[in-house]
Amino acid sequence: MFTIAKETAWCPGCGNFGILQGLKEGLDSLNLEPHQVVISSGIGQAAKTPHYISANMFNGLHGRSLPAGIGIKLANKDLTVIVESGDGCSYGEGGNHFVHAVRRNLDITHLVHNNQVYGLTKGQASPTTAKHQQTELQSEGVQLEPLNPLTLALTLGAGFVARGFFADRKQLAALIAEAISYRGYALIDILQTCPSFNKVNTLKWYKERVYYLSAEHNPADMGQARIKAEEWGERIPLGVIYKRETAEYGAHNTVINANPPLVDLPLKPHDAKRFMDEFR
């Protein structure tokens, strides 16, 4: 239902294909129609994803997928809003929006295609690139500590924090469906290969490391969640790291909660006259 035939602008073998597929399948598994879904994206290779899927699209500015998505959701709470972009877009240029979007806890799903590199601009380090990893620009290796989006989201109070993997689109589809169904801000950081520019985090590299969180993992337990969120290197956990019910923004904001979607409100100039009368 969400599939359209569109030639992509991605490189052969790119991890984005798996994520696109996972997203389509995740959406298909829900009781949603394309016109009820909006995908807000930024700029980058990942950010082209909504071009290849049947859903409304706001393909805005590099780094600004979150605020645009927030505006959309606030304007029309009936829409399912997915914010989708790359690691550079989401955690670099858009870092401030990420921090504050978690705090705002609006009911949106945030999918980050994390290829640990700036793909579209040809391979510079992103905030998640490993320390010492070399790129054309960082020829002596990256000198900053990588940012861990999962621990960051946890620290900021996110209620749904998960890690996906491009190469397992079934699991990814299920994760995405679960994130969309979650009421509040939900982050899925999705591990993705970039065969063109990231020669370190290859499919093989990932396959040697990733594993699924077992049923023993209790995503409601912050202590466990933290340990799993921090795990990186030899072993990398996949799945829902943390999940708990939270007070979603739209549910406790009076203007949103007490009204139909803002977009459906009637506009009558005369209704505002009483405010003017207070100036008499």
Partner: protein, 560 residues
């Protein structure tokens, strides 16, 4: 009659409340009132003042000359006694400080200690000063009492009444102020008028980040949020604010953001996004002196060129300079219609002077506000084309989610009619031309500037925005002195409407731009659009608004 009362002191001493109480009392009495605010970028201390000008005829700006000074501290007298009219009076509270010998005869010293003792309240001495003012003008105390009742309750009200009586008894009437025939009016400032205009226009979403002098638009709207309703979102920064507003607009609500120069600089990329995605947006830019932080609480008109050119790439936009509170209301409402009709960003260019001054004006006529959403109500079969190529450049716009099977693709990259990314040269060309056509289609909408002055002006002033008030008063005064002066005050300013300018500039022998900036940005714009060069520039850039008196003096000295 035309009087001004200045109330001065340190930030935190309550000049604002006192000014409002006095102004409201005068309003109650039927006067035309103009309250001007001059304040520093700090919360306590320093020197702030308000000027309350009132008359039996309309007052459109502040005056230099002051009839009465209410000095809450010594500095006020030092700084302002030079502006006191010859027969002017000073009212001090004890802490009003030392009065210079030459003023002592004209000073009424109220003892705040006495007032505090008698009223039993530490914060009512100012009220005594106000009633003292009323008495000086021979006005009834009742007007102040009415105001007290609306502002204070219980024992505080009683204490204020006591103080008011004390102040009233402390002076004798010196001036004759007669109110005009009763008239219906509201007492409102520029930012409140913008906010009301937005509410009238059905704005349902405002995202912003606090920045003086724009903040009070957001604060006002937030207070009405549940009632209106309107969602007011304080964003983490201005970049988020404009992108949220664009998202909301895309989703189909009328959306707005507002800020001042520095915050607007951060929005420039978003403006460009509005341009290419053809997302309607209303953006209030409340100017203050720059560059950078500059003088945060003062006034200037130095962001015109920036706003006109802000954002990379080329796309149509509309910039309206707001001239006075009524203009602010109607233009704001109009801005929402035009933003949606042409699917463009529309700018409301205001400044600290207009944002903050409060004036008695005729109530706004809500029947004059119509809502034209320019949304497509039906869509053709087949794929929906958000950027369908049409003769006018305008494509049918639908709200996402409202038409099953129809999807709305918008893209910051160059795109085809469906909104999909493209690099094809021919498509690029057609999309650039489509956007240009929208700009051309916009021209007939432009409102010509307002002309003020005699029929055959020899000197033609061109100005814009908030200098409307001072210039209008100055021109009319000069006309009375038989100077053949006229002024064109631009409201719609970009694209620049040029018909009246061309007509009047042919008649006049001198073209003079009068602006609140250092480089003459309107003059540049005029030259760019018409080739006309101004013969003389009157520029002020110290952060204090041109007064009518300064306009008159400058014209007489340099031009007439």
């Amino acid at each position: 009659m035309d009087f001004t009362v200045l109330i001065g002191g340190a930030a935190g001493q309550g000049m604002d409340t006192l000014g409002m109480m006095l102004a409201k009392s005068l309003k109650t009495l039927g006067f035309h009132v103009f309250l001007h605010r001059d304040y520093m970028s700090r919360i306590r201390g320093g020197h702030n003042f308000v000027k309350v000008r009132f008359s039996n005829r309309p007052v459109l700006s502040h005056a230099d000359e002051v009839t009465v000074i209410v000095a809450l501290n010594a500095e006020t007298i030092e700084l302002h006694s030079g502006q006191l009219s010859e027969d002017g009076r000073v009212i001090t509270l004890e802490n009003g400080g030392k009065v210079p010998p030459n003023l002592q005869k004209r000073t009424i010293q109220l003892s705040s200690a006495d007032i505090v003792e008698r009223s039993g309240n530490k914060r009512v001495a100012g009220t005594a000063a106000l009633s003292c003012v009323l008495k000086l003008f021979g006005l009834p105390l009742a007007a102040l009492s009415d105001t007290i009742v609306t502002v204070f309750a219980g024992t505080t009200a009683v204490a204020n009444e006591t103080a008011a009586q004390m102040g009233y008894d402390a002076a004798e009437t010196k001036f004759h102020a007669e109110a005009p025939a009763p008239w219906d009016n509201i007492f409102i400032n520029g930012n409140e008028a913008v906010a009301l205009g937005a509410l009238a226009a059905g704005c349902k979403f405002y995202a912003g980040y606090p920045m003086t002098p724009a903040t009070s638009i957001m604060t006002y709207l937030a207070k009405k949020a549940n009632d209106a309703p309107i969602l007011v979102e304080q964003a983490e920064d201005e970049i988020a604010a404009i992108n949220m507003a664009l998202g909301a607009s895309y989703a189909g609500v009328r959306a707005m953001t507002g800020t001042s120069g520095g915050g607007f600089a951060l929005m420039a990329e978003g403006v460009s996004l509005a341009g290419i995605t053809e997302t309607p947006l209303v953006i209030a830019v409340a100017q203050r002196p720059g560059p950078a932080t500059g003088l945060p609480t003062r006034t200037e008109q130095s962001d015109l060129s920036f706003v006109v050119h802000a954002g990379h790439g080329e796309f149509p936009r509309l910039v309206m300079a707001l001239r006075h509170p009524e203009d602010a209301f109607y233009q704001t409402a109009r801005a929402f219609n035009l933003a949606e009709k042409y699917q463009i960003p529309v700018f409301l260019l205001t400044d600290q002077y207009l944002a903050d001054y409060t004036q008695t004006v005729a109530p706004f006529d809500f029947a004059r506000v119509s809502i034209e959403r320019s949304l497509a109500t039906a869509v053709q079969a087949g794929e929906y084309l958000r950027y369908e190529l049409t003769d006018t450049g305008l494509s049918p716009r639908i709200v996402p989610g409202k038409f099953p099977g129809k999807l709305v693709y918008v893209d910051s990259d160059e795109h085809d009619e469906a909104g999909r990314i493209t690099e094809a040269a021919a498509v690029r060309k057609s999309m650039v031309e489509k956007r240009q056509r929208k700009g051309a289609a916009l021209h007939p909408e432009l409102l010509e500037p307002e002309y003020i002055g005699c029929d055959e002006p020899k000197v033609l002033i061109v100005c814009w925005g908030s200098t409307y008030g001072p210039v209008r008063e100055a021109v009319l005064a000069l006309n009375q002195q038989n100077h053949a002066v006229g002024a064109l005050v631009f409201g719609d300013i970009y694209p620049l409407p040029t018909k009246m300018l061309e007509r009047y500039s042919r008649q006049a022998s001198k073209l003079v731009n009068l602006e609140q900036n250092a480089t003459g940005q309107l003059a540049s714009l005029i030259r760019q659009h018409t080739g006309l060069a101004c013969d003389h520039s009157l520029l002020k850039y110290d952060g204090r608004q041109w007064s009518k008196d300064e306009v008159i003096a400058a014209l007489i000295k340099e031009v007439l």
